[in-house]
Symmetry: C2
Subunit: 570 residues, 2 copies
């Protein structure tokens, strides 16, 4: 099998060194775009809209503005024309008049072993995606970096519940558009009625991960404040579970304060009215909790702090460290409270860390969280799902790896929901619907591992329950541990799954009461109709035994029927 | 639920702008380390060894050296002592004498709602992980960047089968060690017996993603050439499916040329001898195939090329574009072959891309691949798994998204393997065992969706087959599409799953023949023993019917037995 060594074109350390070089984060994600949720044209379309809507909602809430959003997916006529033009020029026999720019379509061609392949059919097209909000707008100088640079944003370093967290999403969407269509991102933004509006066209320098500004100028825009984004991309518009339509419907359920107008590629517009004018409770930013810190991070914090002694360092850089906690910490660590943080050596840091480990520190504050709330989960479910029983549970806040989080569950049951199918699970993280990778998600696992039979619902081992049921689970946290950058599934932390199961238990018990009541009612109804059926016969039997007149018999029947009626009302 | 708007601490665009800033890739992966395979102490230990071994094997093969590796996991005494010391100082009641530096252990503390929590027990300890090879060594100037900077390497930009591909792995392992123990990575390297050896101690500047060199000097090292890495980290050493032991055993199966000596934390050394001295066939680097290119990438290539006209650009920057293909390409695109690549406008690029789409181009060459080969898959399985039937299949190369790949399958069946359990699936990508995230992997899916009943093997719907069976699947490719940076599962490309299923079918049919033969043999044996049992009775019956003497009867019995014996031998 193997070639003898001497025939090899071997490379020594020097020759290897020549090819070693830096990889920019944009090169990395260009090649690994599936990590960001751009692995198929359908998913790319959804991810783009998701990232833009997330940002709009975050910005509106930060600015205290009730969000009014406009989402539009517009088929790109220019691309269609270009396609047609090319065909007539090249004389090729391709039937579709759509754009042919995507890699994915081509992949279906190259699959035959060792043979060249011709053109194939495609379902994807070129679309212009437009997302417009009435948010605070973006300061002009920041626009290029926010849309033309990966890993740039305001949320990564802050411990506070928000939809976005990494500073990758929207610039990655722009990058995907650029890769597939060569078109820049267009951004309109205005920060107030006393300010001019700006219009930018931005591309991302793939090699340097830096924005390239094609145009950037003041412009006239009818809005007082807000941001409008236009991205041209190759996508595929589909219906069903993973669709943009479903994502927007679920977003309106989890964000009852959102007013959304959505125009699909066929030009049909659907408006989701907001069911409340009140914004969600504001999430406060918190300092990290000592239980969540690691040696390397602690060392860096000590080095970078502006505090002059350990005492103020611990109190100011962390939450929940009061004078007493600090005192017992320093005692346990054997370190003086007045020591300069920058003077701690490796061994001191280790001691401090071990002291944190053995010291009781209160759990982090929970005002950094903004759950939807039981009433609004209920309202959202009621408006989104037709059923005849609804319930919702918001758990108290809990903590994983030093990060506060809070779980909410809603259940809709019965009505017109299909009874012989698996229950539908709607997953949300910080009010954002999660549509992909269900089976990799902690939410899915929590539902699977709950004992639904206890609540009177059918369930096979290791499967979702079978019932006319929609289960909504929302995780709110300062840091949702997603399994990938595309933020599609929550990682399996035991603390998180436990809280979800507790919430499901509570909701499940209420469901059980409903199901039991229904069963009793049904049972009573059955008995009743049974008796009703036999009342005439009882009348006849009594007539015979007691030799009643026909009138007496009718009276007896009337009395019995009346008694039954009254017992039914009780 | 919601607070009135005026009470909110609202932020306008200017205040938002102040918190917008750049996030370095090292900050990003510090917070998202689960994406790299460092989400638990057990996985971190495995990932660290995996990344180092991958690099060593790649380097040895590139240099044409038969690899001899040394892997050691050494419990860190210093940490244990420090732990003990601290306890006596602080007078705390903690029972364990182990290091207490990890975040994960602490997470189990913080889970009670709204209450402070004390210390908990931990299974993780501090280890020094050592990996030493006899490879070509690393040029001294490159050492800091390779071990102290994420996204730096030689393999990302090259289309060629190799284990590493992203330039993240080993520096991330160093970063994890640094985060959990505060210790630097130590590297020894020597590039030849005429060169001095070097010793470096490197840390990673988390904020800048740059190496910090603590020490770097010439040193004495007994090896002529090679590299030795020492990383101190908090890990958890476990046995079983996801263990380091299992990973190294599987690595030796897929790399029969590897000589490996492995010392576990208990000090026990196990040696995996190489079953061949021959290195694998060398994988050649190839140019990208036109079918794999996208608009954005093509635009960038046109901009950066040194070629002066389109003709040479297409021929030199891509594989499989000869004079004829180029000619029909340019005709379809309506572009002159002599046009300067840098002068193509957006519309021209679009035309060129659409021309590629409609032009037949031969599939990419396959000498960029280096499969294990049927003989060596068989040899590996035979040495690693005790069974009584082995088979292996290496498929011809195929293509997904312009990337060549090749699938190999091996099956071991029977013998001492447990018959009433699910078959064991060993997954490999470019000769690297994949131990985590099986259910997310295309390999798993290919096994699940094959019809094992056709081959005489039990299988429930949607489940792995139940049989005394080990299934090995290897995917070799210039670019394995992993579902995350931690490289644990292959993405579900239909072309890849199809090839796997074809290979499984071929192997399955051979397995079926074996199972049938076995069944026939068993059947014949059963018949035989049945006849054997009745031969004396037949003898007696014949004696009675034909009035034979006792001698005749015995003779008849002997003859019948002899006939039976001979038929058995046939």
């Amino acid at each position: 099998m193997a070639a003898p060594q001497k025939q090899r074109t071997t490379r020594d350390a020097k020759s290897l060194a020549k090819s070693q070089r830096e990889i920019s984060i944009s090169e990395f994600f260009t090649k690994n775009r599936h990590l960001l949720g751009f692995d198929s044209p359908a998913k790319a379309l959804l991810t783009t809209i998701k990232e833009a809507v997330d940002n709009s909602l975050d910005a509106c809430e930060e600015a205290g503005i009730t969000p009014r959003l406009l989402v539009e997916i517009r088929p790109d006529r220019a691309a269609v024309n270009l396609g047609l033009e090319l065909e007539s020029q090249s004389g090729s026999a391709v039937a579709t008049a759509t754009s042919k720019t995507s890699k994915n379509g081509r992949s279906s061609n190259g699959k035959t072993n060792g043979k060249g392949t011709g053109p194939g059919n495609k379902s994807e097209e070129r679309y212009t995606v437009i997302i417009e909000d009435n948010g605070p707008g973006i300061v002009a100088a920041q626009i290029p970096k926010i849309f033309g640079k990966l890993l740039y944003g305001s949320k990564f370093h802050s411990l506070k519940q928000s939809r976005g967290q990494q500073g990758i999403g929207i610039s990655a969407a722009g990058m995907y558009g650029q890769l597939t269509t060569g078109k820049p991102v267009t951004v309109y933004s205005r920060t107030g009625d006393d300010q001019p509006a700006h219009r930018y066209q931005i591309m991302l320098d793939l090699k340097k991960n830096q924005p390239t500004i094609l145009t950037g100028e003041e412009t006239i825009w009818e809005k007082d404040h807000g941001t409008r984004i236009e991205i041209v991309l190759t996508g595929s518009y589909k219906r069903g579970q993973h669709s943009v339509d479903n994502y927007l419907m679920q977003t309106s359920i989890a964000n009852p304060h959102l007013h959304l107008s959505y125009t699909d590629p066929k030009g049909q517009t659907r408006v989701y009215e907001n069911s409340t004018e009140d914004l969600p409770v504001e999430a406060k930013e918190i300092k990290p909790h000592p239980y969540g810190v690691e040696l390397g991070i602690l060392a860096r914090m000590l080095k970078e702090t502006k505090c002059r002694n350990l005492n103020s360092f611990m109190k100011e850089e962390f939450c929940r460290v009061g004078p007493k906690t600090a005192e017992s910490l320093f005692e346990a660590a054997g370190l003086p409270a007045r020591k300069n943080p920058k003077r701690l050596v490796q061994e001191d840091i280790q001691k401090l860390l071990e002291a944190i480990e053995v010291t009781k520190i209160p759990a982090p504050p929970t005002d950094c969280l903004s759950p939807i709330g039981e009433d609004l989960v209920m309202a959202g479910l009621t408006s989104g799902v037709e059923a005849d029983f609804y319930t919702s549970v918001t758990r108290p806040a809990a903590v994983y790896r030093g990060n506060p989080f809070q779980i909410e569950v809603g259940i809709a049951f019965g009505g017109n929901l299909p009874g012989d199918e698996l229950a539908r699970v709607m997953r949300f993280a910080n009010r954002v619907p999660l549509l992909y990778q269900a089976s990799a998600c902690a939410i899915h696992k929590a539902v699977l591992t709950s004992s639904w039979r206890n609540y009177g619902v059918q369930q096979s081992r290791g499967a979702l329950p079978v019932a006319p049921m929609v289960i909504l689970i929302h995780m709110a946290s300062v840091w949702v541990p997603f399994t990938s950058e595309s933020k599609e599934a929550v990682a399996h932390y035991p603390e998180i799954i436990k809280e979800m199961r507790l919430a499901l238990q509570e909701a499940g018990r209420r469901l059980q009461r409903h199901i039991n009541r229904r069963a009793r009612e049904k049972d009573a109804l059955k008995k009743q109709s049974y008796i009703q059926k036999y009342i005439p016969h009882i009348g006849e039997a009594l007539q015979e035994i007691l030799a009643l007149t026909d009138g007496d018999r009718e009276e007896v029947i009337a009395t019995l029927t009346d008694t039954l009626e009254r017992s039914r009302k009780l």
